[in-house]
């Protein structure tokens, strides 16, 4: 279930949904989320408001909240394509492979551009999810339908279909095909930071770390407040054994999450990021003091301790403009 912020300064603004969308388009993620939360309190039956909230929380690297909001959106409108897509992405990240497959199938069914590929009886509770492991047969059937859809692309490249294909191929581990799809999507949307992040994550998961870093950097150039991309960049640093830089990125991500609600509020802060930050700290030297600070989960405290103990020597990776 979705858990709302208690002290939301935007609860009574006019038209919180529109204002949230505007802020989001400007990359002001934390404040956009607060507005979306106000919107769902103003109008709890709005599938659209819940969907915006969910998608924004995913970018904010708050996957459990994203899933809760997106599920609510779909309860209200089971054919909300954007919600279905975002939810499929979230399930993929959480390794809930079969749930991701069935959500992608629903997405295709709801997609008016590709009618008739999915029979009505197929969707919803189609098979018992006894294991998180990808059902290869189900995957094969769905891949066929998606490829048929791809053949029917109306004019040139349908970026949303290509993104959905990329998610599908991430599930099965066909990273090369996922990368092809994302590069196709980039031909029509070269400045979409979400696609760049998705490309980075796909490259990273297929063991191409240097290219992943380049893709994340592009995503962050376009959208400096993109918490997810910054988190991913931190993981890349860990993969490349640059633990100090990894911690810097995780700290930036946490600071971004905090914007708009004040330094002492802990509600919007992601446990997931703290946990990974802690792992990176454990691999650094002089880590005991830092580890204690990490366990305190107070962003300002940790930042103080970190800059004292490990003063910055900015390398090219850390040079991405960190909004402060």
């Amino acid at each position: 279930d979705y858990s709302l912020q208690e002290a939301n300064p935007y609860l009574n603004v006019d038209n919180p949904l529109e204002e949230g969308k505007r802020l989001w388009s400007l990359g002001e993620l934390a404040n956009a989320i607060l507005h979306f939360e106000a919107a769902v309190q103003r109008d709890p039956q709005s599938s659209e408001a819940w969907r915006y909230l969910g998608s924004a929380q995913a970018e904010n690297e708050q996957e459990p909240s994203a899933i809760a909001a997106l599920r609510k959106s779909l309860d209200l409108n089971p054919s909300n394509m954007d919600a279905l897509f975002s939810l499929a992405v979230a399930y993929t990240n959480e390794s809930m492979d079969n749930s991701a497959l069935s959500t992608l199938e629903r997405w295709l069914a709801a997609n008016s551009a590709y009618q008739g590929l999915v029979e009505g009886a197929d969707i919803n509770f189609r098979r018992p999810m006894t294991s998180s492991f990808l059902d290869r047969q189900y995957f094969g059937e769905l891949e066929r339908k998606f490829l048929e859809a791809a053949q029917r692309q109306p004019a040139g490249v349908d970026a949303t279909l290509q993104n959905a294909l990329a998610v599908l191929y991430n599930l099965s581990g066909n990273f090369d095909r996922a990368i092809d799809s994302l590069q196709a999507a980039l031909t029509v949307k070269p400045e979409d930071p979400r696609v760049w992040n998705r490309l980075g994550a796909t490259l990273a998961n297929s063991d191409r770390p240097a290219e992943a870093v380049a893709a994340y950097s592009r995503a962050l150039d376009l959208y400096p407040g993109y918490v997810r991309a910054r988190y991913n960049l931190g993981i890349s640093c860990m993969n490349l054994k640059s633990n100090r830089e990894a911690v810097e990125h995780f700290l930036s991500a946490l600071q971004l999450q905090q914007r708009g609600i004040g330094p002492d509020s802990r509600q919007q802060i992601s446990d997931g990021i703290w946990q990974t930050l802690r792992s990176a700290v454990m691999r650094m030297e002089r880590s005991d003091e830092l580890l204690r600070a990490a366990e305190g989960k107070n962003v300002a405290e940790f930042a103080r301790t970190f800059h004292q103990i490990a003063p910055s020597n900015m390398s090219s990776m850390a040079q991405h403009d960190q909004t402060n």
Partner: protein, 385 residues
């Protein structure tokens, strides 16, 4: 002084507490460690000889054998392997090794040092050799001795042994079985299986410090030893001499070497624990608990390396490393939290993790803890699309 007193010995050693869930040694039980603090006795004092006799009975119980030549070698598991081979092989003998992982290499090395020639009957990691295949290999190679590991700790396979003894004897060969990683965790009945020599170690399911290698030789094995044309080239591991020290024969005991007094106390305590629990119950316990581990692993999106569930060792689970994951990073992360989980060994290096749940370490709390730690460590490496 030519060599001054080491400064490093002036301060106490750094020995952190860790949860040892690797392939061994496992954590030692409190009462077993306590037993080691009992006052020393002389290695030929009657009180100590009585303790040795009690340990012998315990070993017969845990091997499920009535073999008279049953004792504990002063040395760890490798000493058990060496003792078995050095007594049963003479230069020019043929050894057939069942190769399902790393331990075949060790046995081959040791056998070659004995002057024996070695052939292998091989299965790939994760699989076991079946009786029919073994029989064909024996028919063609006519070995004097066949060597097989029951608990293949490099792959997580528990090699089935039914019919192996009978087949060996039909063809005039002796059967040697290594139960270092399986004794007390998987079913093993030495006499029923017609095993000629079985050995194990103290530091896995027995939850004792690494120190001794329990071993037992059948009548057939003893006959071969007695018929040797040359002395066993190792005095220290000569089974007849050791058998005398351990009172296996009706003759006065002679001084052979200084027995490992405190380690024998520990082994007695470990065997007493196991006898109290019951061997069958201990095996069932491992099987029950490992099911929880399989469920936990499935929940976090990883799977056991050994696909055939009937071939899995209940006290050591191998886990396949998913694509794109840095296996060592996971081990390092867990170690920094005080949990040891190992990577692969030999043919499986880099391909899997090994999670040992030996003896008292096989319990729900440990399993939940290691699964949660692995879940977090894996999440740390996942990039989010």
């Amino acid at each position: 002084m030519d060599v001054p007193p080491p400064a490093c010995l002036k301060s106490p050693p750094n020995i952190p507490h860790k949860l040892l869930l690797g392939p061994g040694p496992s954590n030692a039980a409190e009462d077993v460690l306590q037993a080691m603090t009992s006052p020393l006795l002389g290695h030929l004092h009657p009180e100590f000889l009585k303790i040795m006799d009690e340990v012998k009975e315990g070993i017969q119980y845990v091997f499920q054998t009535k073999n008279k030549l049953t004792f504990a070698i002063s040395g760890t598991g490798h000493a058990g392997m060496e003792c078995a081979l050095v007594n049963l092989l003479e230069p020019g003998d043929r050894l057939l090794v069942v190769d399902i992982g790393f331990w075949a290499n060790r046995a081959t090395d040791m056998a070659e040092r004995c002057g024996a020639t070695v052939q292998r009957v091989v299965e790939s990691p994760g699989k076991a050799v079946d009786a029919a295949t073994l029989e064909k290999a024996i028919e063609s190679y006519r070995p004097h001795v066949v060597f097989v590991v029951q608990g293949e700790s490099s792959t997580g396979v528990c090699q089935p042994l039914e019919k192996f003894g009978a087949i060996c004897h039909k063809h005039g060969a002796l059967l040697v079985v290594d139960t270092v990683a399986s004794l007390g965790g998987a079913e093993f009945y030495a006499d029923r299986l017609e095993v000629d020599c079985v050995y194990s170690a103290t530091q896995k399911c027995l939850n004792a410090p690494p120190s001794l290698a329990p071993i037992s030789f059948s009548e057939r094995a003893l006959e071969k030893i007695k018929k040797r044309t040359k002395k066993v080239q190792s005095y220290y591991l000569d089974a007849e001499l050791l058998g005398n020290y351990w009172g296996c024969f009706d003759e006065p005991r002679r001084y052979h070497h200084t027995g490992m007094i405190s380690s024998v106390y520990a082994l007695r305590a470990a065997l007493a624990r196991l006898a109290a629990e019951g061997l069958d119950e201990a095996v069932q316990k491992h099987k029950r608990n490992v099911q929880l581990l399989y469920i936990g692993l499935d929940d976090i999106g990883v799977s056991p390396f050994v696909q055939d569930e009937t071939l899995r060792l209940p006290c050591l689970t191998t886990v396949a490393v998913p694509e794109g994951i840095d296996a060592k990073q996971v081990c390092d992360t867990l170690m920094s939290q005080g949990i040891e989980v190992a990577g692969g060994l030999g043919p499986t290096a880099g391909k899997l993790w090994r999670i040992g749940t030996f003896g008292m370490n096989s319990n729900e709390a440990n399993i939940k803890r290691v699964v949660a730690a692995m879940k977090a460590a894996l999440a740390d490496q996942k990039h989010h699309i």
